[in-house]
C-alpha cells in the first residue's frame, strides 16, 4: 500500500535511517500510533476520520500491529473506553471528527479530570448545521477548555510527528493530561505528502514505556475522578490541571529537543515565517497556513513586509512565544478558521490578551474569519485583510468587528445555488 520511495541515512549518522514515503494524513497518524506501540484502539467511523481506523484494524487483524482494536457503538463509548483504558496503564490511541467529537464531548472533561494521558486525533470537519464534510476548527476548538493538550498540524509530516510528541508530553508525570492532535479533513487526511517515516527503534528510544500513576488494577482498587462535593477541593483539582497543562510548555520544548536530535526535525510551539522585518503578521494554524505562506510570498514580491506566525501548540497556549514573535510589529491579522457566533474568532482574543500589556504591542489586531467549512482563502482575501489592517493603523483606528472574507465569484455561486434551492 505504501510504496517505498527512497531511503536516506540519518543525519546524526547513528546507523539509524528513515524511510521516505508518500502518505495521506490518515496513513501518517495510523503509522504514528503503530510506531508509538499503542496497545488499545477504541474506534468508531465518521467521515473524514474513518480511513485511520480502517488502516489500524487491518494491521491488527493481520498481526502486523500488537494492539486490541474495538469497534464501539458511539463516540461517547469510544472516549469512555479510551479514558478508562488509559487509566489502567494502557497506551491508547483513538480518532474521531466533528459531530463525533461533540457526541463524546462530555467524556473529554472526564478523561482530562482523571489525568489519563492518551492521544486522540481529531480530523477537523465543520459542524452541522448546515451539514458539510470539509474542515474548519469549531470542532477541535470546542474542546479548548477541556484540559486536553492540543497540537495543530500543518503537514502530513507534522501529523505523524505530533502524535509521537503528544504521547511523550501527555505521559510525562509533570503533565499527565490527554492530548488531541488536530489534522484537517481532506486537506491533510486524504492528501498524500512526502513523509519521513521514523524507524521503530528510534521511536522506542524517544518514547519510553508509559508508566501510569495509580493505575486501575483488579488487585489494587483505586477510584479516579472521585466526587468531591466540597467546593475548595474541586477548585484545587482544576488548578492542578491548569498548572500541569502550563508545565506542558517546557515539557514540550524538552521533548522537541530530543525529537530533533533523533529525527532531525525541529518544532517550536509556534512557527515563524518571514517574521524578522515584518510590519504585518498573519496569525494562523493548521493546514490552511500553507496558503497563508503563499500569500506572504506574493505580498513580499509586491514589496510589502508581511510575515506569518503559525500556532502549533494551542493548549497549553504558548503566550511567551507569541509575545516574542509579535511584540513591536505594527499590525497583526488573526485569521480564525472558526467562528464563535455573536463574537467572532476564537483565537484572536487570546492573541490580543497575550499582547495587551506590552508597551510595544501592535497598533492593530484585526480579527478575520476565513475558511469556514473548508472555503478556500485566496490571495486577494489575504491582501484585502492586510490592507484593512494597515489602513486602520494609519488612521489610528480599531476594527468594528471581524472581517468575514468572501469573494465576488463565491457570492455569485451562492446566489445561483439559492435560486435553485428556492425553486426559482
Amino acid at each position: 500500500m505504501h510504496g517505498r520511495v527512497s531511503e536516506k541515512s540519518d543525519k546524526n549518522g547513528e546507523g539509524d535511517h528513515m524511510v521516505l514515503k508518500m502518505l495521506t494524513g490518515s496513513q501518517a497518524v495510523a503509522w504514528a500510533a503503530r510506531l508509538a506501540r499503542a496497545e488499545y484502539i477504541p474506534a468508531y467511523p465518521i467521515t473524514p476520520q474513518t480511513e485511520i481506523i480502517e488502516i489500524l484494524s487491518e494491521w491488527v487483524r493481520k498481526g502486523e500491529m500488537e494492539a486490541i482494536f474495538v469497534q464501539m457503538e458511539s463516540e461517547h463509548s469510544l472516549l469512555t473506553a479510551a479514558g478508562t483504558a488509559a487509566a489502567t496503564g494502557a497506551r491508547v490511541f483513538t480518532a474521531t471528527s466533528s459531530q463525533g467529537l461533540l457526541y463524546g464531548f462530555e467524556m473529554l472533561y472526564s478523561i482530562a479530570g482523571w489525568r489519563a494521558p492518551l492521544v486522540l486525533v481529531n480530523v477537523a470537519r465543520a459542524l452541522a448545521a448546515p451539514i458539510t464534510l470539509e474542515p474548519d476548527h469549531n470542532d477541535v476548538l470546542a474542546a479548548r477548555d477541556s484540559g486536553f493538550l492540543q497540537f495543530h498540524a500543518e503537514s502530513v509530516q507534522e501529523a505523524l510527528d505530533f502524535v509521537l510528541l503528544a504521547y511523550r508530553v501527555a505521559e510525562d508525570n509533570r503533565v499527565l493530561l490527554p492530548a488531541i492532535v488536530n489534522i484537517d479533513g481532506f486537506h491533510l487526511s486524504f492528501t498524500r505528502e512526502r513523509v519521513d517515516l521514523p524507524e521503530q527503534s528510534t521511536v522506542d528510544e524517544f518514547l519510553p514505556e508509559y508508566k501510569p500513576v495509580n493505575p486501575i488494577r483488579a488487585s489494587e482498587p483505586v477510584a479516579k475522578g472521585i466526587p468531591v462535593l466540597i467546593p475548595p477541593l474541586y477548585s484545587f483539582f482544576k488548578y492542578q490541571m491548569h498548572m500541569a497543562s502550563r508545565n506542558a510548555l517546557n515539557v514540550f520544548r524538552e521533548a522537541a529537543k530530543d525529537f530533533e536530535k533523533m529525527f532531525s526535525r525541529s518544532y517550536a510551539t509556534v512557527e515563524e515565517y518571514m517574521l524578522d522585518d515584518a510590519d504585518t503578521v498573519i496569525v494562523m494554524s493548521n493546514s490552511f497556513a500553507a496558503v497563508g505562506k503563499q500569500a506572504v510570498n506574493a505580498m513580499r514580491e509586491e514589496g510589502r513586509k508581511v510575515g506569518l506566525l503559525r500556532i502549533r501548540l494551542f493548549r497549553p497556549f504558548p503566550t511567551d512565544d507569541i509575545v516574542k514573535s509579535l511584540r513591536g510589529k505594527k499590525c497583526v491579522v488573526v485569521v480564525d478558521q472558526n467562528i464563535s457566533i455573536g463574537k467572532g474568532g476564537i483565537i484572536c482574543p487570546e492573541i490580543a490578551e497575550a499582547l495587551y500589556h506590552l508597551e510595544d504591542r501592535p497598533k492593530v489586531i484585526l480579527p478575520v474569519i476565513a475558511g469556514l467549512g473548508g472555503k478556500s482563502i485566496s490571495l486577494e482575501e489575504f491582501r484585502h485583510a492586510v490592507r484593512v489592517a494597515e489602513r486602520l493603523a494609519s488612521l489610528k483606528a480599531g476594527p468594528d468587528g471581524p472581517l468575514l472574507l468572501f469573494r465576488e465569484d463565491e457570492a455569485m455561486l451562492v446566489d445561483s445555488l439559492l435560486k435553485i434551492a428556492s425553486g426559482g
Binding site: 482523571w114 489525568r115 500513576v213 495509580n214 472521585i226 477548585s235 492542578q240 498548572m243
Partner: protein, 243 residues
C-alpha cells in the same frame, strides 16, 4: 431563602450566621458539619435537645435548648422537623408573626400534596414550637478577622483526584444521623441473620453465636432491620448516645 427590604449582597454559604438552629445535638460534634463555625459573639444558637450540651468552644452566644423532636412525635407521630424548626426560627428572629407562619405552613404543605389532617397537625406543631421560645434580638455582633489569601502550589501526582484509601467511609461517623436507635433484644432474637443481610450500610455483623452486633458509630438509624426482623426482636429507642 433570601428576603430583605434592602438588596441582599450575600450569596451561597453563610459564613457568619446570626442565628444557628441545630436539628440534632450530635451535629455539634460532627467535624464535617461544624455548625458553630463563624458564629460571632452576640449571636443566637438553638439546639433541638432536651438537655444542655457541653459545647466544645464556649462563646458569648445566647444558647437555647428545646426538644422539638418530642413535640413532632406528639403532634404528627414522626420526627419530621421542617415546620417545627421553621417555627422556632420565625419566633427567635422576631421578624415573622404567628399568622404568617401558619399561612406559610398551610400553603407550602398543600403544595406538597399533604392531606388536610396532616397539614393541620403540622400547624399545631408549628404553633407549639412558636410559643416554646422567646424572640432574641442580636447584641453587637463581633466577627473574627478575615482569612489570608494563599496561592495553590502544583502538587504533581498528589494533585490528581485519585482515591487510594478504599473503604474509608467507615471514618465518617454517620451514627450521629440517628433519631431512633435499633436495639436487639437477645431474648427474642433467633440469630436468623436476616437483619445482617438487609442492613443497607453493612453496619450489622454477626458474633460467634450468629447474633447480630450493630455498629452504632455508623448505623444511620434507617430501621430497615427493625422492619425486616421476623420476630420483632429489634426495638427502637429515641437516640441519646450522641456524645
Amino acid at each position: 431563602m433570601r428576603l430583605s427590604d434592602a438588596p441582599i449582597l450575600e450569596r451561597g454559604h453563610i459564613f457568619n450566621p446570626s442565628y444557628v438552629l441545630v436539628t440534632a445535638p450530635s451535629l455539634l460534634f460532627d467535624p464535617t458539619v461544624k455548625p458553630l463555625e463563624g458564629m460571632a459573639d452576640g449571636s443566637v444558637l438553638f439546639v433541638n435537645s432536651s438537655k444542655e450540651v457541653q459545647i466544645v468552644q464556649p462563646k458569648k452566644v445566647h444558647t437555647i435548648y428545646r426538644d422539638i423532636t418530642e413535640l413532632a412525635l406528639k403532634h404528627i407521630g414522626r420526627d419530621i422537623l421542617s415546620a417545627a424548626m421553621g417555627a422556632v426560627a420565625c419566633k427567635l428572629s422576631g421578624l415573622i408573626s404567628l399568622q404568617s407562619l401558619v399561612d406559610s405552613v398551610e400553603e407550602e404543605l398543600a403544595e406538597l400534596g399533604l392531606a388536610a389532617d396532616l397539614i393541620e397537625k403540622n400547624v399545631q406543631l408549628a404553633k407549639e414550637c412558636y410559643s416554646s421560645v422567646e424572640s432574641i434580638s442580636l447584641r453587637g455582633l463581633d466577627y473574627k478577622p478575615s482569612h489570608k489569601v494563599v496561592e495553590v502550589q502544583y502538587m504533581g501526582e498528589r494533585g490528581i483526584p485519585d482515591l487510594l484509601s478504599m473503604g474509608n467511609t467507615i471514618l465518617r461517623k454517620t451514627g450521629s444521623w440517628r433519631v431512633f436507635t435499633p436495639i436487639v433484644d437477645k431474648n427474642l432474637c433467633t440469630a436468623c441473620g436476616i437483619c445482617y443481610i438487609y442492613c443497607p450500610e453493612a453496619c450489622i455483623s454477626l458474633d460467634e453465636q450468629g447474633y447480630p452486633v450493630i455498629n452504632y458509630n455508623n448505623c444511620k438509624g434507617c430501621l430497615v432491620c427493625t422492619v425486616e426482623c421476623p420476630r420483632r426482636a429489634i426495638k427502637t429507642e429515641r437516640e441519646t448516645i450522641w456524645s
